[in-house]
């Protein structure tokens, strides 16, 4: 317990903001998905850090982080399948060109 809780929170906050930048600035749809993965991991660091420092004898914190992991995996699978499907149909995964509904 030598490390203060705030160090973990700072790392998670910076990682979350890097993820936000990836989601907002990337054109490639796979790159956007990578940003989402970074944000989910930052949230998980927060969950585990709060579990360890606030209530380490209760397993609820770890269980919640585990469910976040499961949902993130499902999200990655469906997202990448959608991207591959878009690539097959349009030959391009640039997020600015996926505007079929606007035309």
């Amino acid at each position: 317990m030598a490390i203060p809780l705030s160090w973990y929170l700072i790392v998670a906050a910076v990682l979350f903001c890097i993820g936000i930048y990836g989601v907002l600035a990337r054109r490639n749809a796979v790159g956007i998905l990578m940003g989402v993965e970074l944000m989910l991991n930052a949230v998980n660091i927060n969950l585990v850090a709060f579990w360890r420092y606030l209530n380490p004898t209760d397993v609820s914190g770890q269980a919640f982080a585990l469910f976040v992991l499961v949902v993130a995996a499902a999200e990655a699978v469906v997202g990448l399948a959608l991207i591959i499907s878009v690539y097959r149909n349009r030959g391009d995964i640039d997020a600015e060109n996926i505007n079929l509904l606007k035309q």
């Binding site: 929170l9 906050a13 993965e37 770890q62 030959g91």
Partner: protein, 174 residues
């Protein structure tokens, strides 16, 4: 400054720097590899927080499975290389995105670390993994089952969405 602090700083630096390279590099394949290193750093952070099971799960799920999925997707879509010149990897709002990111980071860093959390100094129980396993089929049995149904739905949905359609099949489905 003890050895624990130094290890924490090294792994935090690995995590954050490779995350930064992941969102800024132009080559999507390199971005995927940087993402893997960053997720490995997150697993190391879990290990430092005494969450050994989560660290192992993070290694298996992210560094193993999701990394392979993302590299597959990058290669199947040719990394977007066929469609974009290298310098157009970022959209027209990249500057605005940087502003939003810095403002969010500023707000988070001003608020989050200085809140007075009721920190409790206690050792993690030695049988925490056993407790976690019992909680997953005890208190958390409903979310556990819902998660398994979600994974099954994601599996079937991904296969259906990404499968290659043969000629004439569209007409039959139509």
């Amino acid at each position: 400054m003890t050895l624990t602090h130094i290890i924490f700083i090294v792994f935090a630096a690995i995590t954050l720097l490779s995350a930064l390279f992941c969102v800024t590099t132009r080559n999507m394949f390199h971005a995927a590899l940087y993402l893997v290193i960053s997720l490995f750093g997150v697993a190391a952070t879990f290990a430092m927080l005494d969450a050994s099971f989560l660290a192992a799960a993070q290694l298996i799920v992210y560094v193993g499975a999701v990394a392979i999925l993302i590299i597959f997707a990058v290669m199947l879509t040719r990394g977007g290389a066929g469609s974009l010149p290298a310098k157009q990897q970022f959209n027209t709002q990249a500057g605005l995105a940087a502003v939003v990111t810095v403002v969010t980071l500023f707000i988070l860093l001003r608020v989050v670390p200085f809140f007075n959390y009721p920190v409790q100094v206690a050792a993690v129980p030695i049988d925490i993994v056993e407790q976690l396993g019992q909680a997953l089929v005890g208190d958390f049995v409903l979310p556990f089952e819902v998660a398994s149904v979600l994974l099954l739905a994601a599996l079937i949905g991904a296969i259906y969405i990404a499968r290659e359609r043969r000629k004439g099949e569209e007409v039959e489905e139509g």
